[in-house]
């Protein structure tokens, strides 16, 4: 099955955590198994074969689209609630 996955984070021991959120699966791979320019929060084209993950490459289109989408929403969030926190100062 071909789908997209996101690099959620790089962790220690040179690992990368990849989420295939469409099927609720998480894979921990060595960073060396990723395309060399891949970074956390990038989207990948992947294929799941018999419960194993095959990385096809970075999905630049999805990466850019999702980054823009999140950026817009965060801007909305930050603008919306300014100054109403219960915080002390």
């Amino acid at each position: 099955m071909k789908t997209v996955a996101v690099i959620d984070r790089f962790s220690d021991q040179d690992t990368a955590v990849i989420l295939v959120e469409s099927i609720q699966k998480e894979f921990v791979v060595k960073q060396t198994a990723l395309p060399p320019e891949a970074k956390p929060h990038d989207y990948l084209d992947v294929e799941i074969i018999d419960q194993t993950l095959k990385i096809i490459g970075i999905n630049h289109e999805e990466t850019t689209a999702q980054k823009t989408n999140i950026k817009d929403k965060m801007a909305k969030l930050r603008a919306k609630n300014k100054g109403v926190s219960r915080r002390r100062r």
């Binding site: 220690d12 955590v17 989420l19 959120e21 609720q24 929060h41 194993t52 999702q66 969030l77 219960r86």
Partner: protein
């Protein structure tokens, strides 16, 4: 009611004094009048006195080691006690429990989630891993339907994981995040819900804080922003009277160094949740020394893909002689604080000596992928029974706590340099049981010391 018996008392006093000295009796009368008025009109004041007496009493029973913190936190405590009284207008029963704070380190597998329950609100710091339900189930089991403040230390999926589920099912007043933007659907679903439900959103800075009754949550980090999720973790210190709990998310050793430089002695806390699940990217010796905790929590799953907790961290913990609680062994770990001391009230019965995962095969798997939904078979954790250890070591040289050198003493579990010094000052000991005379050693650690069977009295 008091007024009724005070008047006859005044009359008796007047008769006894025989009105000979008018000035005196008038003064007495005035005093009594004042007093009567005070008792009748100021019921709240009376309640407050009761409360203050109670807190004084608890403060006295505070462990000596927290004396410094106690001094620093008392004014805050008093102020809040007053506030609490006016707010709750409580009965005697509520006065008894007003001060209690519960801190739950929820067993979420590989991830973090800490619930802080106070009488004035619930705070959730992180929400477990994205593909689990442990946090939402735990909250439901406890009948918690409202979260006053939800802090996501950083947007990695093992920390914000179940935020969408919680935001959907519970009412949440306010969410704090560190501002790093993830691109996962889990993160997107989280911010969608904050927007949709019109929840207050805030990115806290060092110096920010929020109070829930007599529980204060102070933001100590991130000190500098790097846009790296882990490094920018929101660091909070939870203060309840003389009790402090330090939560650092996944902040690393560099961030720990900045915290030491910025806050120094203020970092001292009773409990430290180890940064980054016990990874060697966090918990430097310097930070452990600076926080000087009684107990630490490692929130990680057994046989996880990252080898948490790492060996060097575990060694540091053993040398420091702290109680180590691991969600992988102890399950959900719950502490209760009365503002003077914090005690463990729930955890699986398991030694507080740290367990290093046997992950040799894992670290050599290089390009192998590790699907965490199907973890490798768990290797049983060695739990040497007391009898076995006794049999093994009965005739070998034990460390006589009355005569051993400092270095020898430090080979005993939970005895670091500081406690070894104390032990030597407190000599002689009649039995191992008397080790509880040492500051920081109570029943739990004594049990470990006995189980280890190295210490003895000849």
């Amino acid at each position: 009611m008091l007024k009724r018996w005070l008047w006859p008392l005044v009359m008796v006093l007047l008769l006894l004094s025989g009105c000979g000295t008018t000035m005196d009796s008038t003064d007495g009368d005035k005093d009594n009048n004042d007093k009567t008025e005070e008792v009748v009109t100021d019921v709240d004041e009376n309640d407050k006195d009761v409360d203050e007496t109670t807190s004084d009493k608890t403060d006295e029973s505070a462990p000596a080691e927290s004396g410094d913190d106690e001094e620093a936190t008392l004014p805050v405590d008093e102020g809040n006690a007053e506030k609490e009284n006016t707010e709750t207008d409580g009965t005697n029963a509520s006065i008894q429990t007003t001060g209690d704070m519960l801190v739950h380190f929820i067993d979420v597998g590989q991830g973090d989630s800490i619930l802080i329950e106070t009488t004035s609100g619930n705070v959730l710091v992180d929400a477990g891993n994205w593909n689990g339900r442990a946090v939402i189930d735990y909250l439901n089991d406890r009948g918690i339907s409202h979260i006053d403040l939800m802090i996501a230390t950083h947007p990695d999926a093992d920390h914000i994981g179940q935020m969408p589920l919680i935001l959907e099912a519970l009412t949440v007043d306010e969410v704090w995040m560190n501002g790093v933007e993830s691109t996962s659907k889990t993160f997107e679903n989280t911010i969608n819900l904050i927007l949709e439900k019109d929840i207050v959103y805030y990115e806290p800075e060092v110096g920010d804080g929020i109070d829930f009754g007599d529980v204060a949550i102070d933001v100590l980090g991130p000190i500098t922003r790097t846009n790296d999720a882990n490094k920018d973790s929101i660091v909070t210190q939870v203060t309840h009277g003389a009790v402090e709990v330090m939560l650092t998310g996944d902040a690393g050793v560099k961030e720990e160094a900045s915290l030491i430089n910025r806050f120094g002695d203020r970092l001292v806390s009773d409990i430290l949740k180890l940064g980054h699940h016990g990874s060697n990217t966090s918990t430097s010796q310097a930070f452990l020394d600076a926080v000087n905790p009684e107990a630490v929590i490692i929130s990680a799953s057994e046989n996880n893909s990252y080898g948490h907790p790492h060996k060097e961290v575990v060694e540091r913990l053993v040398t420091a002689g702290v109680d180590v609680y691991q969600t992988s062994q102890h399950g959900d770990i719950v502490f209760r604080s009365d503002g003077a001391r914090i005690e463990l009230i729930n955890a699986n019965d398991y030694p507080t000596t740290p367990v290093v995962p046997s992950n040799e095969s894992r670290t050599t798997t290089n390009d192998q992928q590790d699907e965490t939904t199907t973890p490798p078979a768990a290797s049983p954790v060695p739990d040497v029974s007391e009898e076995e250890t006794s049999a093994l070591k009965e005739n070998s040289a034990c460390v006589d706590i009355n005569t051993a050198s400092k270095e020898q003493l430090m080979t005993i579990i939970h005895i670091g340099e500081e406690r070894a010094d104390q032990l030597m000052q407190l000599r002689p000991f009649d039995s191992i049981d008397q080790l509880t005379r040492i500051k920081g050693i109570a029943a739990g650690r004594l049990k470990d010391i006995k189980a280890e069977n190295i210490a003895c009295v000849r």
